[in-house]
C-alpha cells in the first residue's frame, strides 16, 4: 500500500512537471523574466558575506560580473537560549548562514568547504539556482573536502539556501539554511537600513528552557512540535542588547527568510505597517500590509518607515511561538516623539469591571471601617494569602514572585520591599507609579491600588513575606488598618 502511494505520488509529480514544462515553453510571460545568459560577464569580485542581522553592501559594478562565493560548513556547539546549548550545523559558523548578495545576470562561482573537523557530509541547495537540486548534486562533500560549481543568477528574488543531505530534515533542523539575494542589476531603491532576519525551529529532547546541552529530537520533528521557534538562530539573538537600531524618520528594508524545517511564519512587526512587501521574496509587490506569510523554505522583503520612537517587535504572529518559544526580534527606534502620528499615553486609568477588586490608581484609598477584625494565625494567613495572591498579584508578579524582567518587579527577596517601613501595605492600598529600583534593576510601570480589606491585605503580605524570602513574620490586620488611617 505504501509503495503504491509512493509510486502514485511520483506519477502525479511527473504529470505536474510535464504540465508546467508545456505551459512555460509556450508562455510569452516567461520570456520577460528570462535573462540572456549568452551575454558574457566582465571582471570578477569576491562576495562579501555577513551574519544576521547584517546585510552585505550591494555590488556597485554597472555590468554583470563573476561573483566568487566561499562558504565554509562548520559543526559547532553554541547557545540556543540562556543556559541551553545545541550542536548546530552551520553555513559559515552562525545560524542562520551567511547572507549572500548578487545581482540578476551575475555569474556565481560557488565554493563550498566542509571543515575537516566535521563529522558529516553536507551539500547546498540554493533556491536561486536553475539546475539539478539547486546545486545539491554538484556539491555533496565529505568532511575535509571542497566542491565548486557555477550558476547564472537568472531570476530576481530573495532565495533560501539549505543543506540537502540525507536526512534532509535533520540537516535543516540543525541550522543549515540562509538567504541569497538576487537583486535587479541596478539594485533596489536605496533605504537607510537593511536587515537580515530568519526564522526557524529547533526540536530538542528537553522542553523550552531546560538547561544544559540539548539533542535533536527526531520524533518531535516528525510530529512538527518544536520547543524553540527563533529569529536568527537563538532566543534573543536579535533582541534586547542585540536589537537592531534605527532613528526616527529612517527607512528599513527587512530581508525575512524562513528556514523551517516545518512551520510557516505569519510575519508581523508589532508597531509598524509594511509600506511595501515583495510578496514571497519575488517581484510582485503589495502595499499597506500588517502580516505577510513566509513559507518554510521561502522569504519576503518588507519595507517601512519608522515614524515614531519605540521598540518594534518582529514576531511570528502565530503568537505563542513569539512569547513562549522565542520567535521575537526587535528594532529599537530612537529619536523625538511625533505626536501627530502617535501621542503616547495620554491618560491612564484602570478599567474597573463590576465585581473586580482592582481599582484606579488615582482613586485614592479605601475608607477604613471601624469594625474590629479578628486576627488570624500564621497558617491561616498563609493559606488565605496564597489564594488572594493568585487572584490579585500573580498575573504580573508571577506565581513564584519572580516578576517579569524589565516590566514587573520581582517579589522574591526584594530589597525594595524589605526596605519599606510599612512592609508594603501602602503599595497595595494606594498603588505605585514611576521609576523604582529593585535588586539593582530599574522598573517604570504602574501598579493600581488593590481594593482589599485590612484582613485580606494582611494575608497577602504575610504570604509574600514568608513565601518569597523577604523575612518571616505575621502581618496583622490591625497594622494594615493603622497605615490606612495614617493619611
Amino acid at each position: 500500500m505504501k509503495s503504491f502511494i509512493a509510486n502514485f505520488e511520483i506519477y502525479i509529480a511527473l504529470i505536474l512537471l510535464t504540465g508546467i514544462g508545456l505551459l512555460s515553453s509556450c508562455a510569452t510571460d516567461a520570456e520577460k523574466y528570462t535573462l540572456d545568459y549568452n551575454k558574457e560577464v566582465t571582471g570578477e569580485i569576491r562576495a562579501t558575506l555577513t551574519d544576521a542581522p547584517l546585510v552585505p553592501p550591494r555590488i556597485e559594478a554597472k555590468h554583470n560580473t563573476k561573483v566568487i562565493v566561499e562558504l565554509e560548513i562548520i559543526e559547532k556547539t553554541m547557545r540556543l537560549a540562556d543556559g541551553v546549548d545545541y550542536t548546530f550545523w552551520t553555513f559559515g559558523g552562525k545560524v542562520p548562514g551567511k547572507f549572500i548578495r548578487v545581482r540578476q545576470g551575475d555569474l556565481v562561482e560557488f565554493h563550498l568547504h566542509n571543515h575537516p573537523d566535521n563529522m558529516l557530509p553536507h551539500n547546498i541547495d540554493l533556491h536561486a539556482v536553475t539546475g539539478p537540486g539547486g546545486g545539491a548534486e554538484a556539491s555533496l562533500i565529505a568532511p575535509g573536502k571542497s566542491a565548486q560549481f557555477s550558476f547564472r543568477a537568472l531570476n530576481q528574488g530573495l532565495y533560501v539556501y539549505h543543506c540537502a543531505t540525507a536526512p534532509v530534515g535533520m540537516h535543516i533542523a540543525n541550522g543549515m539554511y540562509g538567504l541569497i539575494l538576487v537583486e535587479p542589476l541596478e539594485g533596489f531603491p536605496p533605504v537607510d537600513h537593511e536587515f537580515y532576519v530568519m526564522q526557524s525551529e529547533f526540536y530538542t529532547t528537553g522542553r523550552f528552557g531546560e538547561k544544559g546541552h540539548q539533542d535533536f529530537d527526531m520524533q518531535k520533528a516528525l510530529d512538527e512540535r518544536p520547543d524553540y521557534v527563533v529569529m536568527n538562530g537563538a532566543v534573543g539573538a536579535s533582541s534586547g542588547e542585540n536589537a537592531m537600531k534605527v532613528k526616527v524618520g529612517e527607512t528599513v528594508r527587512l530581508y525575512m527568510g524562513n528556514g523551517g524545517p516545518n512551520l510557516v511564519s505569519s510575519f508581523h512587526v508589532i508597531g509598524e505597517i509594511f509600506d511595501k512587501v515583495y510578496v514571497e521574496g519575488g517581484t510582485l509587490t503589495n502595499h499597506d500590509l500588517q502580516t505577510t506569510l513566509v513559507p518554510a523554505g521561502g522569504s519576503a522583503i518588507a519595507e517601512f518607515k519608522c515614524e515614531v520612537p519605540g521598540t518594534l517587535h518582529l514576531v511570528d504572529h502565530s503568537i505563542f511561538r513569539a512569547f513562549n518559544k522565542g520567535a521575537l526580534a526587535q528594532i529599537k527606534v530612537v529619536g523625538d516623539e511625533n505626536h501627530k502620528v502617535f501621542t503616547g499615553k495620554e491618560k491612564e486609568e484602570v478599567y474597573l469591571p463590576e465585581g473586580s477588586s482592582i481599582q484606579s490608581i488615582s482613586s485614592g484609598k479605601q475608607t477604613s471601617s471601624d469594625e474590629v477584625i479578628e486576627e488570624k494565625t500564621l497558617e491561616e494567613r498563609l493559606a488565605a494569602g496564597k489564594i488572594l495572591y493568585n487572584q490579585n498579584c500573580m498575573a504580573c508578579h508571577m506565581e513564584l514572585g519572580t516578576g517579569i524582567a524589565g516590566t514587573f518587579p520581582p517579589l522574591v527577596n526584594s530589597d525594595y520591599l524589605q526596605a519599606l517601613p510599612d512592609k508594603g501595605i501602602s503599595v497595595i492600598l494606594n498603588g505605585l507609579q514611576g521609576e523604582i529600583l529593585v535588586n539593582g534593576e530599574k522598573f517604570n510601570n504602574i501598579m493600581p491600588a488593590v481594593s482589599l480589606n485590612d484582613d485580606q491585605v494582611a494575608s497577602i503580605l504575610t504570604y509574600i513575606h514568608n513565601n518569597f524570602d523577604n523575612g518571616d513574620g505575621l502581618i496583622k490586620a490591625a497594622e494594615v488598618k493603622e497605615w490606612r488611617n495614617k493619611k
Binding site: L120, M170, D215
Partner: protein, 255 residues
C-alpha cells in the same frame, strides 16, 4: 635495500604463522544471523554468514607497522590514485610524533579505502561487507535492554559530547563482544558505494533495484532512523581515495 625487503617478507611470514597459530587473535566470531535492512528491497531480512571481525578498529600503531613493512603505502610514497593529500596527515602533527603510547592506541584515521583494503589483505583478512558491518554494529551495548542506549551513544557522538578520534579509551562493547562500532569513528566497508544515497539525497529517479535513495525516505524501512540515514549518506559522499579525519576501519575474515 635487499635486506629490508627480506626483512619485510620475514615479518610477514612470521605474522601469517603466528596469526594462524593464535587462532585469529584479537578477533571475535560473529555467529550467522540476519538483520532488518535499512533499505527496503525484496527481502525483509538480510542473511549474514558467520565471520570473524576485529575486536577493535585498527590503531595508529598497527597501521604504522604495515606502512613500515610496505613503504609504498607510506605518506611519502603513496600514489595520489590511492589516497588524497590528507592521507595519514595526522601523523605529521607533533601530537603523534611524541610517539606516545596513547595516540598509538587510538584508531587510525585519514586512511583511504585502498589503504584499508591493502592493510587487511596484508594481514590475511579483508574489509567487511556492508551487510556484515551493519549486522555486527546492530548489536546493542552489553547489558542494555533496549535500542535507546545505542541511539544515545550515536546521538552523543553527533553532538560532540564524546571524545575525539584520538581517544584511546574504549567506550562500549556490544553483545557480540566487539568494541565501539559506533560513537568513535566512521569505518570503511568493502562495498561502501554499492548502496549509495543519491548525491542530492532527494532524487526519486530510477535507481538500480535495491539501491538506496536518500531522499524522500520512501525507500527507508524506518524513516525516523536518522542515525542510519546519516551513516548511509556519509558513505555516499566518499570515493575510494578519500581520507577523512574521523574515518578508519577494521578487518574481517571469512570463517
Amino acid at each position: 635495500m635487499l635486506f629490508k625487503k627480506e626483512l619485510a617478507f620475514l615479518v610477514m611470514l612470521c605474522f601469517v604463522v603466528s596469526s594462524v597459530s593464535s587462532q585469529n587473535k584479537g578477533m571475535v566470531l560473529i555467529p550467522s544471523g540476519s538483520y532488518k535492512p535499512f533499505i527496503k528491497g525484496k527481502v525483509d531480512e538480510i542473511q549474514v554468514d558467520s565471520f570473524w571481525i576485529d575486536e577493535k578498529s585498527v590503531t595508529n600503531a598497527e597501521f604504522s607497522t604495515f606502512v613500515d613493512a610496505n613503504p609504498s603505502w607510506s605518506r611519502e610514497e603513496i600514489k595520489r590514485l590511492f589516497a588524497d593529500e590528507d592521507y595519514l596527515s595526522h601523523w605529521a602533527t607533533d601530537l603523534f610524533n611524541q610517539d606516545s603510547f596513547l595516540v598509538g592506541n587510538a584508531p587510525v584515521v585519514n586512511v583511504s579505502w585502498f589503504a584499508a583494503k591493502a592493510y587487511c589483505e596484508w594481514q590475511g583478512k579483508r574489509l567487511p561487507m556492508l551487510s556484515e558491518w551493519e549486522y555486527a554494529a546492530s548489536a546493542l551495548p552489553q547489558g542494555s535492554v533496549d535500542s535507546s542506549s545505542l541511539q544515545e551513544i550515536i546521538a552523543n557522538w553527533y553532538s560532540r559530547r564524546t571524545l575525539s578520534e584520538n581517544d584511546t579509551v574504549p567506550h562500549y562493547k556490544n553483545e557480540f563482544g566487539i568494541w565501539d562500532m559506533h560513537g568513535k569513528i566512521w569505518e570503511w566497508v568493502y562495498d561502501f558505494n554499492s548502496v549509495q544515497s543519491n548525491e542530492d539525497s532527494r532524487n526519486m529517479e530510477e535507481t538500480p533495484e535495491g539501491l538506496f535513495c536518500g531522499s524522500a525516505s520512501l525507500n527507508a524501512s524506518d524513516a525516523s532512523d536518522y542515525s542510519t540515514f546519516i551513516r548511509f549518506a556519509f558513505r555516499g559522499s566518499l570515493k575510494g581515495h578519500f581520507t577523512v579525519r574521523k574515518l578508519g576501519f577494521r578487518c574481517v575474515k571469512t570463517k
